[in-house]
């Protein structure tokens, strides 16, 4: 995670270390990400500036400051041309529920919904989807913060083992149930085939999706 940390020499970083004793590791990391977004972007800015120093507008050249529709909110964020959606979500918007596994569109851990369709966020440029609706694992909870029926079903079926692939599995399952509320087990298998689970809990995940479908998960 070295490249995403703020410079250790600053007093701010020391203050954060003090804070760390009072917060969970996850909370601490998320705070550093949220407050350090500008600082971390500086790591790449010398590269990014080349894109800004052009003379006059060129048709089709992208603006860096964009408004992203994420989980129903409009988030203003500075996006580099070479930035993937997973990078923006995790390291600029603090939405660390989306995991980065292979970073090559192979494992599906980074699956998010774009206009309700499952995409690997590691392999799509944020600029390609800036006008569309992005939903991450953080955005599927119910109005009172309750688990999504797919998540609840996964809990009941003991679907996750280590849990790293779970956000991706959940998002693929949510996408499936949105377009096909009553899938067969084979259709589930097909829909989740782009999500690797190194614990091998595939059957438990399938049980979970079938349970969620039976409980009418699509209505949420």
């Amino acid at each position: 995670m070295n490249e995403f940390r703020v410079a250790p020499a600053s007093g701010l970083a020391r203050a954060r270390e003090d804070e760390a004793t009072r917060y969970s590791r996850r909370e601490f990391i998320k705070r550093v990400i949220a407050s350090g977004a500008v600082a971390s972007a500086a790591t790449y800015i010398y590269g990014g500036l080349q894109g800004c120093s052009r003379q006059g507008p060129v048709p089709g050249f992208v603006e860096r400051l964009v408004s992203l529709n994420v989980n129903g909110e409009t988030r203003r964020v500075d996006v580099l041309p070479n930035e993937t959606l997973a990078m923006t979500l995790r390291y600029k918007l603090g939405l660390t529920g989306t995991k980065l596994g292979c970073d090559r569109a192979e494992c599906g851990a980074c699956t998010v919904l774009i206009d309700d369709v499952a995409y690997n966020s590691c392999s799509v440029l944020t600029h390609s989807v800036r006008t569309r609706k992005v939903t991450t694992i953080e955005g599927i909870r119910g109005p009172n913060g309750e688990l999504h029926p797919v998540q609840q079903a996964f809990v009941e079926e003991l679907a996750p083992q280590c849990g790293f692939c779970t956000p991706g599995q959940v998002m693929s399952a949510v996408a499936l149930l949105k377009r096909n509320p009553k899938p067969t087990r084979d259709e589930c298998r097909h829909a989740l085939s782009g999500n690797l689970c190194r614990c091998g809990a595939y059957d438990n995940y399938l049980n979970g999706v079938m349970r969620a479908a039976a409980a009418g998960a699509a209505s949420t």
Binding site: M1, N2, E3, F4, Y44, G47, G48, Q50, G51, R54, V58, P59, G60, F61, V62, L80, P81, N82, E83, T84, M87, L100, G101, D103, R104, A105, E106, G108, T111, V117, A118, Y119, N120, C122, S123, V124, L125, H127, S128, S172, H190, A191, S193, G194
Partner: protein, 329 residues
């Protein structure tokens, strides 16, 4: 797991084909035209290709969609593989295409990956893709065609310094359907038959297709001669999802009273281009559709195969796939 950024590039999102071509022409050698990005981004992440400017064409209107025309079917190059897989029209008349589209990569990749991108993807040789300076990358050696080289994915036919194979499932299906590729470029539009669209290393070792710089594949036309024919598609890969074909087969047959009148049989993963098996097709015409004929077709298909050190298994695999492609079409 921490990850770093891709190296910097300028990003352009033109809204018309003309603008995209114009941009590509103006930027010249450092320009990279990208659709869904599922092939492109890997290159950038690995630093194996370092374009100065990426021209993302997915925002161009009119380049996606499936249309029935008087001549057959026209599919826009930006149509996603998921759309092709699920299209009722394609499933009804050209099920070879929908089956092939459904076997490409994984659901998430099919949701963003396009027909054009799949057809235009670069070679899947691990040496080449890891950025070594091989023939295809402009160097003067091949790392796969050596006694120790890991070459079980590599070719049986048409090697010429490079032994990489065609990775495109849609290419295999498109050649079998006598597709016509519509290409737009600085000099206007041209239409190229699918079989001539793909080129091997003997023709140009740096390119997989006839596309020249600043040219864009805009649509693919499938003639109605093959609409509703008997089809077969099968792809064998190490992993059923996401992986590329070790060998794939696509066949289209027209029968009259139990006798094959017209046939197309194409294999993927055995040559740098989708390999059309003309000798097999000739043998099939006038024969009944039977296991015996399929067996003969398989034997004929692999004639002349030149194996590398680790890809001998592809010979019986190809033989059996061709046999099935006749018997079970």
């Amino acid at each position: 797991m921490s990850r770093d950024m891709m190296p910097h590039f300028e990003l352009y999102q033109p809204d018309t084909v003309e603008n995209a071509i114009d941009l590509a022409k103006r930027i010249g050698e450092g320009a990279w035209i990208m659709a869904g990005g599922q092939d492109s981004l890997d290159w950038f992440k690995d630093r194996a290709k370092r374009p100065r400017a990426v021209i993302e064409i997915t925002g161009i209107q009119g380049l996606s969609g499936i249309r029935e025309t008087a001549e057959g079917l026209e599919i826009g190059a930006l149509t996603t593989l998921t759309e092709i897989e699920n299209s009722a029209l394609v499933r009804e008349k050209y099920s070879l295409l929908s089956t092939a589209a459904g076997r490409v990569a994984s659901p998430q990749i099919r949701n963003i990956g396009t027909l054009g991108g799949n057809l235009c993807q670069d070679a899947r040789c691990w040496y080449y893709r890891s950025g070594v300076n091989c023939y295809r990358a402009g160097g003067n050696s091949c790392y796969a065609d050596t006694p120790q080289g890991l070459n079980r994915e590599h070719c049986l036919f048409g090697a010429s310094r490079c032994v990489a194979v065609s990775p495109s499932d849609m290419g295999t299906a498109s050649v079998a359907l006598d597709a016509q590729m519509v290409i737009r470029g600085p000099d206007g539009e041209r239409v190229v038959p699918a079989e001539e669209f793909f080129i091997g290393p003997a023709t140009d070792i740096r390119r997989m297709t006839v596309l020249k710089p600043a040219e864009i594949l805009t649509a693919v036309r499938y003639p109605k001669t093959w609409a509703g024919a008997k089809f077969y598609f099968e792809k064998v890969a190490d992993r059923n999802t996401w992986d590329f074909a070790l060998v794939s087969v696509a066949s289209a047959l027209r029968l009259e009273g139990g006798t094959i009148r017209e046939a197309r049989v194409v294999c993927g993963g055995v040559e740098c281009v989708p390999r059309r098996l003309k000798a097999v097709e000739q043998l099939l015409v006038g024969s009944p559709q039977s296991d015996e004929v399929g067996r003969l077709a398989g034997t004929t298909a692999v004639r002349g195969a030149t194996t590398l050190n680790f890809n001998h298994f592809k010979v019986p695999l190809m033989e059996n796939l061709v046999r099935r492609a006749i018997r079970d079409a």
